[in-house]
């Protein structure tokens, strides 16, 4: 795993590079480790409060640990009426965790998201940003098998 210090350094001279650095860190870690955030604050010459402020503003950035594979379930209106709640129930049952939680082995985290722009195939989930459309409770186990 690449060192977060190296990742941050690589973005140092990019104008507005703080968010770019966060993306690059998450690509490696799947979240932003607390110490990486403090390092980024130092490198980009902003206060720790500002670095937190930016990271916590955006739904796709997560400070502190979460699972290796992030499963997001769209809860916006088109997916809502297409039965997103049934997909939520199936995912919670399959993984044995509730929305917002991470499996004990650290493999999966369940998160709600708003629209991911794949509305031709509602309801939609994404796993590490790869979209899966027309998801039903029955399809969930097969989709997850790819990541187990």
């Amino acid at each position: 795993m690449a060192d977060y210090k190296e990742i941050i350094k690589a973005c140092k001279d990019v104008p507005g590079g703080l968010i770019e650095a966060y993306h690059a860190i998450q690509k490696e870690y799947s979240y932003i480790p607390e110490e990486a955030l403090l390092e980024a604050a130092k490198v980009f010459k902003v206060s720790a409060a500002q670095a937190y402020g930016v990271a916590t503003f955006y739904s796709y950035l997560k400070v502190g640990k979460r699972g290796k594979n992030v499963i997001r379930i769209c809860a916006s209106a088109p997916c809502h009426i297409a039965g997103a709640d049934k997909v939520v129930a199936a995912l919670e049952k399959e993984l044995g965790i509730k929305m917002g939680q991470t499996t004990a082995d650290g493999k999966f985290t369940l998160e709600f998201t708003e629209c991911v722009g794949q509305c031709q195939a509602t309801p939609v989930i994404t796993i590490n940003s790869t979209p899966y459309g027309d998801v039903t409770g029955e399809k969930v186990a097969a989709i997850l098998a790819e990541y187990k």
Binding site: V54, Y60, A77, T122
Partner: protein, 406 residues
Amino acid sequence: MTKEMPVLLANAGKINPTSAAEYIAAGGYQGLQKARQMDRAALLQEVKASGLRGRGGAGFNAGMKWGFVPQAAPVKYVVCNLDEGEPGTYKDRIICQNNAHALLEGMAICGAAISSQQGYIYCRGEYPFVVDLLRKAIASAKESGALGSFDIEVRMGAGAYVCGEETALIESIEGHRGEPRFKPPFPGVEGLWKAPTVVNNVETFACLPYILVNGASWFAGIGAPKYPGTKIVTLTGDINNRTFFEVPTDITLREVIFDLGGGIPGGKKFKAVQVGGTSGAFIPEKDLDTPIDFDSMGTIGAALGSGAVLVLDETRDIVDVVARISKFFEHESCGKCNPCREGTFRCREIMEKINAGRGNENDIENLLLLSRVMQKAALCGLGQAAPSPIESTIKHFRPEYLQKMN
């Protein structure tokens, strides 16, 4: 009779969207060549005369927007808004995945008009695969020489709906929290890194190559005279053809839903349609013969917005859908201004109360009052538009609210 009219999507399925060579072989980058040979004022005039208006939702005349940029400024930026976050919308993704170079060419045409050498595309965090595609397309265009000295960089958002607001988007490119700025100054005068900046939607930029090649009067003659051209609409919800169509802007909602969309599945009846994404008004059956253009939609208290079309059949619980939508806005409000931060919170609270069967008629009056405050006092379009699903459903579907009360 079908009323589809592929212009921006005429290349769909025919060319590799990343390949500059294939786009050029299909006639691409001729608009940019033409733009670069034109005098700046003539180019601006051509874009103004085409009547092209912003496709992101605000419907502002594109040429006029470009005209606000002061020529004396040493550095100017062209920024493309690819943050499409309106639920039910995916038109910009479709444009990129089918005709990415039309977007790049359109940005370079804007660059020629305002003398800018640098463009940015702000792509929503939900589309990392579009970021990759665009970076390949940019590399291919640079290699072919088609873009000349105009550079384009792609930046990725991180899941904040409010960043579709142009000043919030600029803040985000600068590496800050995506909170809208006070206006004025408008971005055309003081935008990205304090330099004059034009921010336009993907679909707006992608129209430009075709306007330059075919002429302003050709474009002005398509669809509705006051909002000419084509529009890509995305159909979701209770509709047989859950897909996208590029249509002239004078097509009516009824034609979109019942001709192109194939009507409602299962022989059910139509109840309502929400146009323009989750911030749009809900429209009842009686208004379906309205053309989709910006001004016509305004006359029925609705908005074309992003072109999302969410259809609900007779079995849908409209109060439940609007309660869900109010949760969306509470989540997406950035919190900078009080009318939106508190307003979206209270809207959600009252909507959930009504949806749970615990509401009364006083709650409806409070929602309407709150709507008016937010529309007038919120800092940006998010807070101003957030109450429109509530207000429009109370107006057109009040009995459904009353049904939930004792």
